[in-house]
Amino acid sequence: MHIPDGYLSPVTCAVLYAAAAPFWAIALRRVKRLLNTKLVPLLSLFAAFSFVIMMFNIPLPGGTTGHAVGVGIATIVLGPWGSMLAISVALLIQALFFGDGGITAFGANCFNMAIVGSLVANAVYRTIGRGAAITSTRRVVAASLAGYAAINAAAFCASIEFGIQPLLFHDASGAPLYAPYPLSIAVPAMMIGHLTFAGLAELITAGGVVAYLQRSDSSLLKLTAPDAPDENSIEKSGWRVTRPLWIGLAALMILTPLGLLAAGTAWGEWSAEDFNDPAGREQIANASRNQSPPDAPPEGLVRLSSVWTAPIPDYAPPFMNSAEFGYIMSAMFGTGLIIAVFLLGGWIAGLINRGSKNAPPETGNN
């Protein structure tokens, strides 16, 4: 993820320096106001911490190890602005004193990992962890997803930066001057790697550290979530917190017959019979800018459509006369099924959790 010099054109580097500069300025001002004289030691120590955990080999599934940037956990403890500065300083030290990551590409590296990474991690952690108690499992999930999303967002930015190089910068013969792969290759190549493996290192780090801090020193988690409720009060008010969600869900279920108002068929959701039925064919043509459909239904569609027959075809159980009521019944049945699956999942997760809680607590200390 640390882009070395030579992969990006100087113009791209300059643009990304310029893009990063206002964020640094705002971050410095905000953090300075909060910390005043404490700014210097806190940022230094945290940047040193970020630097060192970039060296850690995080065990990944499959016996391999990977490195985390630490942007997830930095954002959760310091907030997005503090994390932005700490990670930037750590990246600068890597580039200047250890020769890792380019000097001209430093702006790009900061933009991807420190800035985009911190903002994405913050958004995800706040959204999922909103209102959760400091020691709740939801915070661990929120932290894991925040780390995972942050590193993937950073990788996505990097892949875009790589991908536009051959478009913009090539010599007279058409040979790319910098990173040679177009967007169509750079984006999937980077994203497959990060969505599957590299992202997991960040996910494990952020989630694991939050789970550890919950057990050992939850005051560090309170820094960015000062108004998080206590464990006890959240248990009593579980209904109050989720009430708007339940009401919204009920309203959506009642409104499902609105689907009957829509004219024609949903584009691309045609069945094999629609291709043979003249009225169906007309609807397909209308929905496809008067492009007439093929004479016979596609062979694969015919073959696969017989594999599975839905118990409630077209959301209307065969024994029901009223289409509206059939829609509502289908919605209730479907929603109930989904909730049941999640409750079952939660119950199993609870069982596994209880099993691991019996294990001796981990300190990792000497």
Partner: protein, 300 residues
């Protein structure tokens, strides 16, 4: 910063039996990092050409050459700058063997792997067709792969010269010249110092764990230990922060930062600055010429 050579992990008996656990691997990464910093510090104290220069000249000169190498639109300019970098390494007593093994070879393997498919997939004039696979190598593809490799080799060598031939305290002061705000420079300096404290703390933690470990850890337990170690390090860094802050306050720190700027430009520094700028300008000028074109177009 203690010498760490006696902590080499190679003699650990478990190493022979299986691929090291993540603890061993992390330990060796941490030690390698510290060793490299020590190596750089040792080199920076030698009496070489770059070491004797004023850090401001070094930073400006080497950055200008790095910029040239990234701007250049033909091979000759990049190779010319690479040759300057090698020359600078020789006169500054940077062992070429270390440079070759640690830098050039690792760039070749990493960037080379990335660049290899380019020679087949870039559309352009066909040069050669692989006999069995039927893949076509294009002139544009080879040119592009060479650009990437040469550029990365050159810029990495130049930035490593800066790292290896300048004391880190001098790099910091030099940064002031480039307009980096003083508060950042101070944060950078403190960070660099505490990196070694943290590296040492992390090493102690992992060594303590490793010495109490019999058999191998399963994946789940490994992940728990990794996360817990990071958590402990985080808590420790907060404690350390409080202590450092109190120490700073007790010595009168009120948020303002002052540095001693005691660099003196001597005749040699001015000469070197002029030479660097002249080279950089020449590189910039020749680098813009598309007409020199690529090796490939000249040779085929």
């Amino acid at each position: 910063m203690n010498p760490v050579s006696n902590h080499k992990l190679k003699s650990t008996p478990t190493r022979k039996k299986r691929r090291g656990s993540f603890i061993e691997r992390t330990l060796s990464t941490l030690i390698r990092k510290t060793e490299r910093a020590l190596f750089a510090e040792e080199l920076a104290r030698k009496e070489g050409f770059l070491q004797k220069l004023d850090p401001r000249v070094k930073i400006i000169g080497l950055l200008a050459l790095i910029l040239d190498a990234t701007l250049a639109r033909n091979f000759f300019t990049i190779i010319f700058i690479f040759a300057i970098a090698v020359l600078l390494a020789i006169v500054s007593h940077v062992p070429l063997r270390t440079l070759a093994v640690r830098t050039w070879l690792s760039v070749l393997t990493f960037t080379g792997t990335i660049a290899l498919p380019v020679i087949f997939i870039t559309p352009g004039d066909a040069l050669f067709r692989l006999p069995l696979l039927g893949w076509t190598i294009t002139a544009q593809g080879v040119t592009s792969a060479l650009y990437l490799l040469l550029r990365v080799e050159t810029t990495v060598t130049l930035s490593l010269l800066l790292v290896l031939c300048t004391l880190w305290t001098h790099v910091l002061k030099g940064l002031r010249v480039l307009g980096v705000p003083v508060v950042f420079v101070v944060i950078l300096g403190m960070t660099y110092r505490y990196i070694f404290v943290m590296l040492e703390t992390a090493r102690n933690m992992f060594e303590a764990r490793q010495s109490r470990l019999i058999g191998s850890l399963d994946a789940r337990e490994s992940r728990r230990i990794a996360a817990a170690s990071i958590g402990v390090l985080l808590t420790k860094s907060f404690y350390l922060n409080t202590e450092v802050f109190m120490a700073m306050q007790s010595r009168g720190f009120r948020g303002e930062v002052y540095t001693l700027d005691d660099f003196m430009m001597r005749g040699r520094d001015w000469l070197a600055l002029a030479a660097f700028l002249l080279l950089a300008l020449a590189g910039f000028w020749f680098g813009r010429q598309d007409s020199l074109q690529s090796f490939v177009n000249l040779h085929f």
